[in-house]
């Protein structure tokens, strides 16, 4: 290699990597950082454009804030727990590779392919008084002809939340199951077989070997799910509108879409976004800490 070539090469080595990341960086700055900053700016300015923390006071004093936060918390806790248990059970079942397990996998994946709007519409038509859920229950003989269960118009908060959790779980279980299944398939079979040989039954093997070895996969699945459960809104709005079962994120949409003409609509909407972002960050860090993702020793997780 001539001297000139080698200088050229050195220059490329210094500049090249930056050139290669440039398109991604530009995209990131314009379509990610800029809107985020803008939202942040909105949240700390009042309607007249002056710096102020007034918006945060308004959000916290919003009579809907506390119920929205409560609803979100309930949905997050129960739906993530339910989804994890069901997804894990399903993943373990499909991983056993019995006859027809691939068909089961295919069927289990269907809800994942549906958009939340379609989902909301589907369950809304299902749960109206003359919807298909009641028809089905009548058909299988659970209800007498003419008897109807009123799902949506009842004002029981418990019933509404239960409905939301079940619908959310129905949609989310497949994606969680896929992550867990991938993790399960990555585990060497010998690890579980050794456990059986050395005296453990299936349940003990699941608890002492499979789950601990799957820990980082479980963490990934749960954290993704926690974040998206904190951001649930579309299905709820489709089913109940904005007022009846408020959640945190539906407040964001409420201010920007339903009442966009208030003097401070965008400010409120942005402030809610920032509050949600802070909550998500705190929850995620708490979860990772509790599940032991930090401070793991030498890559080997302690049981």
């Amino acid at each position: 290699m001539s001297k000139e070539q080698s200088i050229k090469r050195r220059n490329w080595n210094q500049v090249g990597p930056y050139l290669l990341v440039a398109p991604a960086l530009i995209y990131y700055v314009f379509f990610w950082i800029r809107p985020v900053l803008k939202i942040f700016m909105f949240s700390i300015t009042d309607a007249a454009g002056h710096l102020s923390l007034e918006n945060f006071r308004l959000v916290l004093e919003d009579p809907t804030f506390i119920p929205a936060a409560q609803n979100t918390a309930i949905i997050v806790i129960f739906s993530v727990t339910l989804e994890f248990v069901a997804a894990m059970a399903l993943a373990l079942l499909i991983n056993r590779k019995f006859k027809g397990s691939s068909i089961l996998l295919f069927i289990a994946m269907i809800p994942m392919a549906l958009a939340p709007v379609a989902l909301g519409a589907m369950w809304k038509t299902g749960f109206t008084t003359h919807g298909w859920v009641n028809s089905f229950l009548t058909y299988i003989g659970f209800l007498d002809i003419g008897e109807k269960i009123i799902f949506l118009s009842g004002e029981s908060r418990f019933k509404n939340l239960l409905l939301i959790i079940l619908i959310d779980a129905w949609q989310v279980i497949p994606s969680m199951m896929i992550i867990l299944l991938a993790g399960l398939q990555g585990l060497p079979k010998e690890m579980m077989e050794a456990s059986y040989v050395f005296g453990a039954n299936r349940w003990k093997t699941l608890r002492k070997i499979t789950m601990p070895m799957l820990r980082s996969t479980i963490q990934t699945a749960v954290i993704l799910r926690l974040i998206s459960a904190l951001q649930i809104w579309l299905t709820i709005v489709m089913l109940f509108g904005f007022g009846r079962v408020p959640v945190l994120l539906s407040r964001v949409i409420y201010y920007s879409e339903e009442v966009p003409n208030l003097a401070n609509s965008y400010q409120m909407s942005s402030t809610y976004s920032v509050v949600i972002a802070v909550i998500i960050t705190i929850v995620a860090i708490l979860y990772l800490r509790v599940s032991g993702a930090f401070g793991r020793k030498n890559g080997g997780a302690k049981a």
Binding site: E193, A194, V197, N201
Partner: protein, 359 residues
């Protein structure tokens, strides 16, 4: 400790593939038995059926006379060393070894004593607080051995436990395993495809092929009295040489044997009735002498020095054979020399069935 009996043990996959074709086998008390065969011969499947990790299609497995075919692995009182060690990465070495003992609800102090004891026996007493990813392959293997000993099982099952170690470590672990077997005296079933490993470890070797047992015998028996061509070819490095020869009439000194560039007499009773037919002569590389006045002329084609001896690739007409000779003979490549088969140290095999003639 215990005996293991297999009665007409059979494994069929998907109702079509016969992996194990109904084998009968008895492992004696305290015996080190090696299942040996090429991959796909059913040796691992057989072991997994003894362990309970594979369902039995037909037949029976008896441990100490008790049929265990319907029991889950944990109730069979066996322990196993896996090919990839299968030590659990999220537990320390101590916890790995103590796992089975804790499940048995053993006293804590007793567990401590037992773990220390087996760790010492396996040479890992200083590693008990470590995690598996801090250990070398050989150390991980020793943890697997310690874990298997700790439960004091009726039967040890070892599924190619040395195949992932490097060559030097493998030879060392062989010695260690044999010593551990001597000190524990446990009935052991060991699966391998490596014939030299089988030879050096086994009390008896079971040679399997295509799901059936071909020969059972001590290392000496299977080496010197191979039941058929497959065994003679599978055992030994280099394996048995085969020369096809035409059996002539019986003369005073024995049968006249003729082949390509071959013409000598051999007194071998098994040849009776084969006059005028072609048979396969099998001779081990070390059972060939190089002598100036010997009857067979050969050309030296290659020399593989082994230190203690040289392996010579010799050509006799169109046929090739390997012989193991002392380096002092001083053969050179392309040199013509004369050789002789050591009397009584060769066998004849049926060229069609491959079976040994004097069985």
């Amino acid at each position: 400790m215990a005996t293991v009996e297999l009665k007409q043990l059979k494994k069929v996959y998907n109702r079509k593939v016969e992996a194990v074709k109904g084998i009968d086998l008895t492992v004696h008390d305290g015996e080190f038995l090696v299942l040996l065969g090429p991959s796909g011969c059913g040796k691992t499947t057989t072991m997994r059926m003894i362990a309970g990790l594979e369902e039995i299609t037909e037949g029976e497995v008896l441990i100490d006379g008790v049929s265990v075919g319907h029991l889950p692995p944990r109730k069979r009182n066996v322990s196993m060393i896996f090919q990839n060690y299968a030590i659990w990465p999220h537990m320390t070495v101590f916890d790995n070894i103590a796992y089975a003992l804790k499940i048995k609800k053993m006293e804590k102090s007793e567990i401590n004593t037992r773990v220390k004891e087996v760790a010492e026996l396996s040479g890992i007493e200083s590693l008990l607080d470590r995690y598996p990813d801090q250990l070398s392959g050989g150390q991980q293997q020793r943890v697997a051995v310690a874990r298997a000993i700790a439960v004091q099982p009726l039967v040890f099952l070892m599924d190619e436990p040395l195949s992932n170690l490097d060559a030097k470590l493998r030879v060392q672990m062989r010695t260690d395993l044999k010593e551990i077997h001597r000190s524990t005296g446990a009935t052991t079933v060991f699966v391998t495809h490596d014939q030299s490993e089988a030879m050096s470890l086994a009390d008896r070797i079971v040679i399997m092929k295509d799901g059936a047992i071909i020969q059972i015998g001590t290392p000496d028996e299977v080496y010197h009295n191979s039941a058929n061509r497959f065994v003679a070819d599978f055992i030994g490095t280099p394996p048995t040489n085969f020369l096809s020869v035409l059996v002539g009439d019986k003369e005073e000194e024995g049968y006249r044997l003729k082949g390509d560039h071959l013409d000598f007499t051999a007194n071998h009773p098994s040849l009776a009735g084969f006059e005028g037919k072609t048979v396969l002569l099998g001779v081990r590389p070390e059972n060939i002498d190089v002598l100036p006045e010997a009857p067979i002329e050969a050309i030296c084609r290659l020399i593989e020095p082994q230190g203690s001896h040289n392996i010579i690739l010799a050509q006799i007409g169109e046929q090739r054979m390997k012989l193991s000779v002392s380096p002092d003979i001083g053969l050179k490549i392309d040199q013509t020399f004369r050789l002789r088969l050591k009397s009584g140290h060769y066998h004849f095999f049926d060229p069609e069935t491959g079976e040994r003639l004097d069985k």
